[in-house]
C-alpha cells in the first residue's frame, strides 16, 4: 500500500491579532518589533496546531511573506517587486516580479523570517517556493525560467537541504488555460534536481489538461486541486506521489474528514507513488480560525486512512 502523509504547504493566514498589528504598523501606531513579536506568537501557534493535527511535515506558514514572489524579488539582484497583479481568479494580488536589467541572481539564501528552519523539526518540514516557470510567466518583463531556477531558486534549495527541510513544494500557477508549452518548465526543473525531493503543485485550477504531461517531468510529486479538477482526469495508474488537494483553501465550508478519507481511499487504488493529503492552495484565502479547523480535519482524514492500513 502507498505511504500516506498529510501537511499544509503555502502561505498560512495571519491571526486577527497579526492583521491588526500590521494595519497599525502601516498607520504608524505600532513598531516593527511589536509586529515581529506577534508574528512569533502566530508561528508558535501554527506549529502547535499542526502537531496536534498529527501532520507528517510541518510548515512555518510563510507568515512574513507578502506574496509568493516577493522575498525573492527583494533578495535577488536583477529583480524588483513590480505592478500589483491579480492572483489567478481570486480577489488577491501579488507584485509581479519585474526584471531590472542585470541577470537575476540571489544575493544570499533566505533564512529567518522567511524560512524559520530553527523552529522546525529537522527532516520533517516542508518548504514552499514559487515554480521558476510561474515566476517567469507572471513577471512584468522578460525573465528566463531556467536562469531563475539556476541562479535564484537552486541556491535557496541547497540552503533548505542543509537546514533540515524534507520536501520542496513548487507552486505552479501558470499552467492553466490550455495550449501551454511545458518545455521551459521541464528545462527549469532540470536545474533544481538533486538537493531535495520536489513536488510541483498546481493550486486553484483545473489541472486536467496537463496532468498527462506533468507526470513525465523530473519531479517526485505532482499536486492537483480536486476542487477544480475532475478526478476522472487523473492518469491511471498515477506513477508519482500525488499531492491531493482535498481541503478547499478558498472556501470556509469545513470538510468532513470521513468524506475526505473516502476520496483518498479511492485515490489509493490508482497510485504507484505515495498519497499526500494537502489543501488545494494557500490557506491564507480563509481566515485563520477557519484554517486552523481545516488543518485539524486534514489530520483527521489522514489518520482514518492510516489506521485502515
Amino acid at each position: 500500500m502507498p505511504e500516506i502523509k498529510a501537511y499544509a504547504p503555502g502561505i498560512y493566514p495571519r491571526s486577527e491579532e497579526l492583521v491588526q498589528a500590521t494595519r497599525d504598523l502601516d498607520r504608524g501606531r505600532t513598531t516593527r518589533e511589536a509586529v515581529e513579536r506577534q508574528r512569533q506568537k502566530d508561528l508558535a501557534s501554527l506549529l502547535r496546531v499542526q502537531e496536534e493535527a498529527g501532520l507528517d511535515y510541518l510548515s512555518d506558514g510563510l507568515l512574513a511573506w507578502q506574496d509568493i514572489f516577493r522575498p525573492f524579488c527583494e533578495a535577488a539582484r536583477g529583480l524588483e517587486p513590480g505592478p500589483l497583479t491579480r492572483f489567478l481568479n481570486t480577489n488577491t494580488f501579488y507584485r509581479a516580479p519585474a526584471p531590472s536589467g542585470e541577470p537575476p541572481a540571489l544575493e544570499s539564501p533566505l533564512g529567518p523570517p522567511y524560512f524559520e528552519a530553527e523552529e522546525l523539526p529537522r527532516g520533517r518540514w516542508v518548504a514552499t517556493l514559487p515554480s521558476p516557470h510561474a515566476m517567469a510567466a507572471f513577471a512584468s518583463g522578460k525573465v528566463d525560467a531556467r536562469e531563475l531556477a539556476r541562479r535564484v531558486l537552486r541556491p535557496q534549495i541547497e540552503w533548505l537541504a542543509e537546514n533540515g527541510c524534507a520536501l520542496v513544494v513548487l507552486q505552479e500557477a501558470a499552467l492553466f488555460g490550455g495550449n501551454v508549452d511545458l518545455r521551459p518548465l521541464a528545462a527549469a526543473l532540470e536545474e533544481l534536481k538533486g538537493p531535495l525531493p520536489l513536488a510541483l503543485q498546481l493550486p486553484f485550477g483545473d489541472a486536467g489538461e496537463v496532468l498527462g504531461e506533468l507526470v513525465e517531468l523530473e519531479v517526485e510529486a505532482v499536486g492537483v486541486d480536486f476542487y477544480s479538477t475532475d478526478v476522472e482526469a487523473l492518469p491511471r495508474p498515477f506513477p508519482k506521489t500525488l499531492l491531493a488537494g482535498v481541503i478547499d483553501a478558498r472556501n470556509s465550508l469545513l470538510e468532513d474528514p470521513r468524506e475526505v478519507a473516502k476520496f483518498g481511499r479511492a485515490l489509493l487504488e490508482e497510485l504507484e507513488g505515495e498519497l499526500h493529503l494537502v489543501p488545494n492552495g494557500d490557506l491564507q484565502f480563509v481566515p485563520e480560525g477557519i484554517a486552523r479547523q481545516k488543518l485539524a480535519r486534514l489530520g483527521e482524514a489522514a489518520k482514518i486512512l492510516k489506521e485502515e492500513r
Binding site: 493566514p13 486577527e16 507578502q66 478526478v231 472556501n251 465550508l253 475526505v260 480563509v286 481566515p287 477557519i290
Partner: protein
Amino acid sequence: MAEIRFTTREIGSLSKPGWRVKSVVGRPLNDGDVEDARRWGERLGVEGHEELVELLGKGSGFTEEEKARIQDFAALYAIRLLESAGLDVVYDGEQRRSEMYDHAVKHARGFEARGTVRSFDNKYYTKAAVVERPKVEEAYDLEEYRFVREHTDRRVKVPFTGAYTIMDWSYDEHYAAGSGLLGAPAERRTEARRRFGIDVARDVVRPNVAGIVRAGADWIQIDEPAATTRPEEVPLVVEAFNATREGIEARASMHICFSDYDCLFPHIERLQDCYELQLEFANRDSRETGTKDGDRPGYAVLKRFAESEWDGKIGLGVIDIHTDFIEPPELVRDRILHASSVLGPERIEVNTDCGLRTRTWEVAFEKLRNMVEGTRLAEAALNGA
C-alpha cells in the same frame, strides 16, 4: 444634426472625510478634522455647514442621533462636491456604505461574517459565507436614495453591488454543501455557483433595486468588478444582470473595472436592455495628448465594442482613480474624441474609471473638474465650435 452633449458622472464612491469616519466609529476628532469640515463646507457652499462644525467641536462621545446627523452631512458634502465639479449626474459618494461588498451582505439574510483575509501586503478585507438561501425583504438603500433625491436638482444614478460580485466574493457553505464537489466534474461546480448567483440577483439585489425604483429612481447602475475574474463565467454575469433587471422599469447600466474586457465578447450580446457599460480605460492609457490609435493604447478594446452586435452606450473612463495625477482637460478631450471616432459620439458618455474613494477630496475635485472641462472641449470640437 443634433448638437453633441455628453453626460458626465462619477461612478460611485468618494473617500470618507476623517470627521465622518472617526465620529461614527468612536475615535476622537482633532482640530484638523473640524477645520476640514469648515473649509470644505465654505468651499462647496454646503448649507448649514456651521451646524456641523459646531457639532464636531464636541470632539468625541457622539450620540446615535448626532452620528446620523454627521452621516447626513457627509452625504450632503459629497453631493455638493460632485455638483460643484460640474457633473450632470450625481449621488452621495456612498458615504453611508461601509464598503461595497460588506454593505450588501450585511443587509441580507443568509450570510454570516467569517473574518479577515488578505488582499495584498498589509491590506485586508472581510468575507462572509452564504449559509442558507439569501434574501432581503425590502429595499435597504431607500433612505439613502431619498436623501440624495431631496438634496439635488441634478439627475441621480444609484449604484448597487452586482449579484455576480457578491457571489464571487463570498464563501459558499450552502450551495456547495452536500453536493460532493471534491473531485467532481466542472459542470457540477458551475451549477452550484450559478444557483448561488441567480438567487442573489433575484432575492438580494433586485428587491433593493425595485424598492428604490418604486421610490422614484430612474437610473440604476449594477457594479460588477468581479465580472471577468473567471472568464468562463461571463455568461453567468450576463444572466445575473438580466435576472436583476427583470421587471425593473428604469434605465440600467453595468459598471465593470480593472477587468479583461476581451472576455466580455460575445456574451454581452445577450444583455437585456442594458443602457450602457461603464468601463475603465484611463488606467491603461498614455498621459500624452493625441487622438490617433497609437496615442490611446488604453482604449484599443473599443474596436471590439464597435464590431459587436451589442449596441449600447459606453461610459468612457477618462480619469485614472489610482493616481494623484490630475488629467489635463486636453487629455480628457482627446480620449473622448478618440472614442468618438471609433464608436461614434452618440454611443459615448463620460465618467471616471471607477469610484474615487482612494483619492483625497482635493485630488478628486480637481480630477472631476478637469473631466468636465475636457468633456466640454470635446463637445466643442465635435460640434465645430
